[in-house]
Symmetry: D4
């Protein structure tokens, strides 16, 4: 095949094996997923940001995948990990951040977590976040998904002593510069100890949680 | 002289005449301030971001200036405007933002306001801002001075219906990129109707307040 | 629903509740508008940058909205605020800035203002602006909408002592870099006290006016 | 005082209270540290990136601080936390990254950890890292400190299933752009689940570890 | 014709004559290729990044071209150079880098080389590269094709004393910024003597190899 | 109408009145051109970067326009200026720069010049430019249209003492960054006295020539 | 010597031979100037941006140079060209732009022109420029020197049909980004036919004038 | 010691061991050089970009180093490699590029080459380069060192079929952006097969030559 799949990584990392949809033909998606599932006791296999035709091709040849549609793209998980402790909370700033949050939630589920989510908590309406302060304080780990000015990561980071993984999204217009503004803001957070993954990288945030809640 | 001072602007705008210190010799500062004060019933005259030698030269030839030292630079105001109504609150995120806030406060005083200030209200410690919520709600206008991720502007903008003028500062390190991060974050604020002036531009923020609380 | 609408914000801010069209399904637009209108004595509700199918879905379920078509997108206002004093002037540099100006005008109307507009006043033809100098001088607040080099904000700011809210637009080609040039130019304006909102953010400019002409 | 110290944060977060040296007078350093130590059972207090005169002033008034000199700047820790489990490994790419690594190590010690370090493991000489593979595999958490192209974070992330916190440094010349290259590279890491803090932010990385090894 | 073809360049350089597909009509492709082939003893002629309709038009009028389809675009070679010594290895980081690698491989073949390739060697799975260390050490020249954080160039550069030509690709999402991250990382490589060509420029890398393995 | 046409500018400048096509409806193009032509003894009227439907609408209502198709867009000139002395040479680097060069040539013709052009003179094949050195040395003004690294402007500027107007184009891939590279290179030209217009701004270059060859 | 001076360029271009001061030792300045003056009937020789020690060394060995001190740096001209017709006007926005304007004026004088200057014409005080409209309209060529938002170039370009050469300066703070804002604004000018030279490049602007007023 | 020196790299690469001066204490320079020389039959050892005090300390403890002073910094070579065939030509654009060229030349000598150099060949004076065309055509490899617009790399690349390694320098002002302009221009070169190293990286260019002329 034209991708040498990594059978060792799973042993080393107990993480998911991921296939990134964009730029692949439906047939490539189908074949790479199949190769990964051929490994007997392998880790979860995840197809991310897949278009409908990619999902269809991959599922036809590899039945049993769990599909999470997020916006126009979907995440598919095969062979999810067994349940695993650790309360993970995914907090989003606005409706438009949902596709990234949903990718994160789907991968977290694939890793065995039972994540909860809080939506529409933008800092311009603090009372909404404060109304659910309990959820924030009880979480073992918070993922904050926000675009625009990304301020939500600082606010959550100031409320909880737990790990906070911040995901800047490309949500916003004009001066948001496709997520760059949120990215820089999160990296400059005045809440010490917030760490950041790449723009729109809900998958990466889930993997970071998988590492720290072992 | 080598600067044609603008005697008409004051009539048109009832704003301050400002002399920007950096890049000018002490002698240029002295002469330009003198020319501006020569105008009989002119507006306040302000020397901003002045080094000690510039302040000294300007005061020696033009006595009566009120000096506000902010960090290594100072603001000097001559012929302040008569007192003027309007409750202005200047909120700062951290100690390091004080020089910019102080420039703003000095110019506001020169324009006739009696501004109040709240310091050290970074969003990582929301309880500090919330403890002074009354001050925020009573203000006719808030100036928010913040570096790093600039999230304070969004939080203040979400708490008050009054005008909010945001001043990004070059405070921060690494990923703050000398104020660019705070600038972009403030422009992308999810609190609708927050408006922004240039990086470290405490003077400009005071003038914006002068325009809107006429 | 998948968006927790903010019923408290209106009380706090007396501003409009906005739904940003891009990235939402027609059905999401319909439902969120409906939820916002369900609030008995709520503020104006505005759908911005909406495509035809979004407008249609939202109006079908929520009759009575006032549609302003601006280019390929539209702004819809439900439950406009009662008339409100304050002369607001929206000045645009070129024909291509009209969609952003129209969004601003529609939201201003929704907030209860009766805004006026001056079009095609680019600084390369100063006589056009100077011919309408009266309009500028009589306004309680000017919104300047300009792309390319954004110089119009400085010129207007030098003519009036009133508040000036500058909106950089993504109009222009090549070196305009999708509004970045106008944005930076407006933030660096030599006319003191001009304040700026994000690129193409006509909505934000209207909200800034709503704050300062309370 | 001119900084309102945050007595509540410690309760909420069990983290260190930090005073960032640059831009503060020796006297400000002295006073803020004193105020923080006045709190009876408070958390560790850390002065970061302090010049010699700042260290001297702060120590004179507040004896007992533990000084870590890193390059031209120092980190001082007062009232360190009691010992705390968790094997933390700090890996650096080159000699020039040591000041950032040392800041991180000093703060980790202040938080109660007994961190280990591996130096000079740049990816151009993989055998050096592979020679110490045991250390990497035994760590509960790895902090990777690297400038230039920042590739070390990806390599370490591919070797261990533990959490990896990456700190880009401003080390490098020309095309490193003061840490921006390493920052972007780490955010784009092909090793899933690596998370990143701001440029040169050794303090932030230590706090991130403090959060995730609670 | 509307392109003055360079019959002298071949004499000077013994390189390929290339026609860059994007932005040209099928007819332009056909005519320029024909003009280049009209030169009696000329060098190889290459059409790069050609869409299906461009390939078809060019082949119809100029039979005998060898087509390499890479993703949605193709490379076509006419009149390949005679076989030429020199073991060239093209190493790619991920599946998505294949189109750029394939363009490079096609042009290398056109220049008379018999290049080999190693795929899917991203540094997050070092064991894959190390498993083929022999191939790397036997090559007279390595081309490294990688997107995301581009770390593969540093690792290969640290393993072999042979020339390494690095090609950053626009593969990646969010913080990869369309190849800029990989480009800067490769230019900042801690492996001394790695040299770099433009983003996605598989053609340029092949030409660089053609220059250095004369 | 929704554009206040500038009847005074022509008097002041003896330049063309231009209508920029992108973002306008066919009907807007038609109406604005008509208004401009209604002015009795006005200057040339030019519609730039117009799509087929815009050209059609404008010509139907305003017959007599001269169409220059350049790539997918066209330039239309009505009421060209009478012939005017001055030898203008437009030099292009590659085939792909032709649309920008053609816009420039069409506007130059509209201004009354009889411009000549040299194509495909990229600096990698200097002999092509040197073969036409006479043309360069006889010109009263050279316009250099080039993308990629834009070096042609420096070479031409070093060969002639005449004015050189450089037009960076968005031609190129990867590291050309849509014309930014050529723009910066031309502004940094080591050939003193080369001046530059915006990216792809063939229209602006023609106007600059119109100013300097009065 | 370590610089191969270009004796042919003068013949080709009738321009000045320039030595750029920064980065050269006083001795290098002395020697290069001497070599250039050794050419019997050569063009003007100019030393630009020279520190006091460089000026002193160059003048001691090469007497007769005309020194223009501009801020901390100076321009020195030897062997000025004979007087030459053409009314050149240099317009500056603010006092801080004077060093760049003075470099331009000194080189223009060296080229044989008798340039005039208008100072302190920033667009925030249009009445100052309009008061000298005659000067602008009588000039055969205008050089506009401006930092901050650079809007002056557009305004002057809209007032005169003559050539306008715009020089962005690094004057300004924060959002001016060391001249980038003014540069982009001038390149995006809505006044057609304005052309631009590099940031702070007063020398280059003078050479551009030398080319166009031959 | 605080740097783990790489004794294996030399075996693998037959390259120089380099110590980068900036950011190291004189004592660190001394110790690291000593450790590297302690290796019996090791490769050349090079100290780059060293200040006078660093050179002095390193030489005092490690006699026999060959010093090349280039501007304010120096390169020191110990234990040079035995002579080695291969004609290397280093071409520079201007006097100010000499420090980077000299670092490259010193390292090339240390690697056993006898490099030649051509200075002051900026493309604005092509006749100077063409006068030495023989040197260019006879070289087995050309290093092109240029700042400003970096066009020299394209011109040299168009003249020779040999490998061309381009080094952008931070020479230039304003729009050169500290080497970024030259870097991007060289990466976008229309001369196919030119490869590029980092800004000011004369050392890296020498190592690239060392790799390709094995
Ligand atoms: N949604 C995603 N966001 C970011 N990175 C991803 C995503 N999905 C997959 N990846 C990464 O991309 C790699 C797979 O790329 P590929 O081999 O091209 O399928 C995985 O190893 C992941 O590290
Ligand atoms: N046209 C617009 N331009 C900028 N911001 C807008 C616009 N319309 C709505 N918004 C902002 O976007 C938020 C709504 O986002 P959402 O919840 O995704 O509909 C509002 O609170 C506004 O602050
Ligand atoms: N795939 C490619 N990537 C980068 N540069 C290319 C590619 N193909 C052709 N070129 C360059 O583009 C030039 C041809 O451009 P054109 O004359 O527009 O066909 C050639 O001289 C090559 O230097
Ligand atoms: N092709 C073009 N390139 C750059 N600027 C142009 C072009 N065509 C027209 N313009 C400018 O755009 C303005 C017309 O814009 P508009 O009023 O939107 O049609 C004119 O005044 C010109 O300055
Ligand atoms: Mg919402
Ligand atoms: Mg504080
Ligand atoms: Mg118009
Ligand atoms: Mg080392
Ligand atoms: Mg893969
Ligand atoms: Mg060609
Ligand atoms: Mg002034
Ligand atoms: Mg020279």
């Amino acid at each position: 095949g034209d991708a040498r799949v990594d059978h060792h990584r799973a042993l080393r990392q107990r993480q998911a094996e991921a296939v990134y949809g964009p730029g692949k033909t439906p047939d490539q998606c189908r074949r790479i997923v199949a190769e990964l599932l051929a490994e007997p006791a392998g880790p979860p296999v995840v197809l991310t940001r897949a278009r409908a035709d990619q999902v269809e091709a991959a599922l036809a040849a590899n039945p049993g995948g769990q599909v999470t549609a997020s916006g126009e793209l979907a995440t598919v998980v095969w062979r999810p990990a067994p349940p695993r402790p650790g309360r993970v909370l995914v907090v989003t700033a606005g409706t438009a951040d949902l596709p990234v949050a949903d990718e994160c939630l789907a991968v977290l589920s694939g890793l065995g977590f039972a994540p909860r989510r809080l939506v529409d908590c933008g800092v311009a309406g603090l009372h909404r976040l404060l109304a659910d302060l309990d959820e924030v304080l009880e979480a073992d780990c918070c993922v904050v998904v926000a675009g625009m000015e990304g301020a939500l990561a600082s606010v959550v980071g100031g409320l909880t002593p737990a790990p906070v993984v911040a995901v800047p999204t490309s949500v916003g217009y004009g001066s948001s510069f496709a997520g760059l503004t949120a990215l820089l803001a999160m990296l400059s957070s005045c809440a010490a100890g917030v760490s950041v993954v790449g723009i729109d990288n809900g998958f990466g945030a889930a993997c970071a949680v998988g590492r720290l809640l072992r």
